[in-house]
């Protein structure tokens, strides 16, 4: 019953992560440190580490992780070729005459495009750069503008086909398709609530979200229709096709992702926007992001092997299954831990570190099958809320980096508060009514 070394390993590793060396190597290095300490103390058997090569080959041949580079490439190609920017611009023109039109366009594009990447940073930064200047120039209140961009940028975490959901599925041992279907209702409900909030503000407080004046709607009538047909519909059709083929069971997420990446390149090439620079940028960014994700998994695999060898897993599992309130206690603690960690570390670290520790306890408490999908969607929603919450939320930092200095940080903080309230309501609903997730699974 001696878990002392396991507990020490957990605490020291967490501390080391916060010091700021790359997380992947901190996890792997701490595995090295503690296997040495464990062997010296006579607690650790090196056999636990000798299966590392086997685990590594498992990661290399993992057909779910294979989907990650495909979806990232699809997203980066749409962004770097400028198709995403055109999309936002066109939707803005379409809704521009209405009050709050541009903010609505941001919510829509966030739901659609972020869905293709699922990378919070990329979508917040690009939407911030494109739409914030437009909204500010036309007299939108900076609070509404920044809040909308931050919140919409995080939507891609939860709306399929996000790579967040793919990684969650891999870690939970369920199929990505099931998680995609489970996230469909909560994801689109969130987008709908965001849009409703924007419309409400525009109605109650017209000065905060003015309509565009006629002279700014440079494209109208037939020209606008042509624009819609050539700029708006193709990427929209591509995303719907990718999603549809997954939901119809015609293709696995990996297959659909590959076709989606290919389709994005074709669309960009047809519009003569696939320059060599854009392609190279997309390919390099995809490789770096994929490497980052996979190496986190490699590091956490090494960590888990040693942690298990030191009986740390038994300690965690014992602690989590003996919580007061059983299942409810586990849900409360997991949600609090994930929300807290979400302030400091990004989604992938949390998925790779926390999930393997929580999962056995959850399964012992009867969270299996459909309930596991619900558990995953709930964690995804929770993290998304965490990324929005001041003062540490990731999305806020990303937007700050592209916001003009005359907009103070406190404005961004005030801007996201209503969206956090919406998130909290959605999270509470998903926890209270698991059918919202499981209905489509």
């Amino acid at each position: 019953m001696d878990h002392a070394l396991g507990v020490a390993m957990f605490a020291v590793t967490l501390l080391l992560i916060f010091v700021g060396y790359p997380v992947a190597f901190t996890l792997a290095g701490s595995a090295m440190l503690f296997s040495a300490v464990g062997m010296a103390a006579g607690y650790f058997d090196l056999d636990f580490l000798s299966i590392f090569p086997e685990r590594l080959f498992g990661i290399m041949g993992n057909s779910i992780l294979l989907a990650v580079p495909y979806f990232v490439l699809m997203g980066t190609v749409l962004q770097r070729s400028g198709l995403a920017e055109d999309l936002l611009h066109t939707i803005g023109l379409l809704f521009g005459k209405r009050r709050g039109g541009i903010a609505l366009a941001v919510v829509l594009v966030g739901a659609l495009l972020a869905a293709a990447t699922g990378v919070v940073g990329a979508s917040v930064v690009s939407m911030g750069m494109i739409s914030l200047p437009v909204m500010l120039r036309h007299g939108y209140s900076p609070t509404l503008a920044t809040g909308t961009i931050c919140a919409s940028g995080t939507l891609g975490q939860i709306i399929p086909p996000s790579i967040v959901l793919i990684v969650l599925a891999d870690q939970l041992g369920t199929s990505p398709g099931a998680l995609f279907r489970g996230a469909l209702i909560p994801g689109f409900a969130l987008a709908g609530l965001y849009a409703a909030y924007v419309a409400f503000v525009a109605w109650r407080n017209p000065a905060a979200a003015p309509a565009l004046p006629d002279e700014d709607l440079e494209v109208r009538g037939a020209a606008l229709l042509k624009r819609v047909a050539f700029v708006l519909l193709p990427p929209l059709a591509l995303i719907l096709l990718v999603l549809g083929s997954i939901f119809a069971g015609w293709a696995t997420p990996t297959e659909a992702g590959a076709l989606g990446a290919f389709g994005a390149m074709i669309l960009a090439a047809l519009r003569r926007r696939l320059s060599f620079d854009a392609l190279r940028g997309s390919v390099f960014e995809t490789a770096k992001l994929t490497t980052m994700v996979v190496f986190l998994l490699v590091g956490s695999t090494a960590f888990t092997l040693v942690f298990t060898g030191l009986d740390g897993d038994l300690w965690i599992q014992g602690a989590l299954t003996s919580l007061p309130g059983g299942r409810v206690g586990l849900l409360v603690i997991t949600n609090l831990v994930v929300f807290g960690l979400g302030f400091f570390i990004d989604f992938f670290e949390i998925a790779f570190i926390v999930l393997p520790l929580v999962l056995p306890a959850a399964q012992e408490l009867g969270i299996t099958g459909e309930a596991l999908v619900w558990f995953g969607v709930m964690l995804g929603l929770n993290l998304q809320t965490s990324f929005l919450t001041p003062p540490f939320g990731f999305a806020l930092f990303y937007l700050r980096s592209v916001t003009p200095p005359e907009v103070p940080t406190s404005t961004i903080y005030r801007g996201v508060v209503p969206f956090i309230a919406i998130q909290a309501v959605a999270l509470a609903l998903v926890i209270a009514f698991p059918e919202l997730v499981t209905a489509l699974v």
């Binding site: 190597f25 290095g29 057909s63």
Partner: protein, 181 residues
């Protein structure tokens, strides 16, 4: 010494960028396999390209294994910047120096050490795919210790450069200190 470090950095960038382009090959292989199976099925004869299907994850593996040193050099591996962002360039260099010596280098060395026998065994047996028409397995297994060897070399370069900055022998260079995400 600086020349040697420059050579390591340059090699990491070259190899990493080359590996990144394999991503396009992945898309090509996957599209062919998927369309072959799906469109073929419409005509009652789904086509199976076993070798191309395996090529997909061979390329995936090669991409992340050989892009890792490049990603390290460019600071693309995520870090938690709560403490880091409060430190100056020299403070950050200390983190990279100590982290390199204590965490990264021992792990890279261990990974080479532990995957080498598997690779040699696979090479000796000329290990093949368990599926008929699949690709030879041994080149992939052989690639693993080499990739971690390259990661070790890049780790050495990054750590030594950080050491020079930490000890005040060199000015901080963005690429070495890494970009906090």
């Amino acid at each position: 010494m600086p020349k040697l470090l420059d050579a390591i950095d340059a090699a990491s960038v070259r190899i990493g960028q080359l590996a990144a382009w394999l991503g396009l090959g992945m898309v090509g292989a996957a599209v062919t396999v998927t369309l072959g199976a799906k469109v073929g099925a419409l005509f009652g004869a789904p086509l199976r390209f076993v070798a191309l299907d395996e090529l997909q994850w061979y390329l995936f593996s090669a991409t992340f294994l050989f892009a890792a040193p490049w990603a390290l050099k460019e600071g693309a591996h995520v870090r938690v910047d709560v403490v880091q962002s409060r430190l100056g360039p020299r403070g950050r260099a200390w983190i990279d120096l100590i982290g390199g010596v204590v965490l990264l280098l021992p792990f890279a060395l261990f990974a080479v050490y532990v995957t080498w026998p598997t690779a040699m065994e696979s090479l000796r047996l000329r290990e093949a795919s368990p599926d008929a028409g699949g690709l030879a397995r041994w080149p992939l297994k052989l690639a693993v210790p080499f990739a971690f060897g390259l990661l070790f070399l890049q780790g050495l370069s990054t750590t030594l450069r950080a050491g020079a900055v930490a000890l005040g022998r060199a000015a901080a260079d963005e690429a070495t200190a890494g970009e906090a995400r």
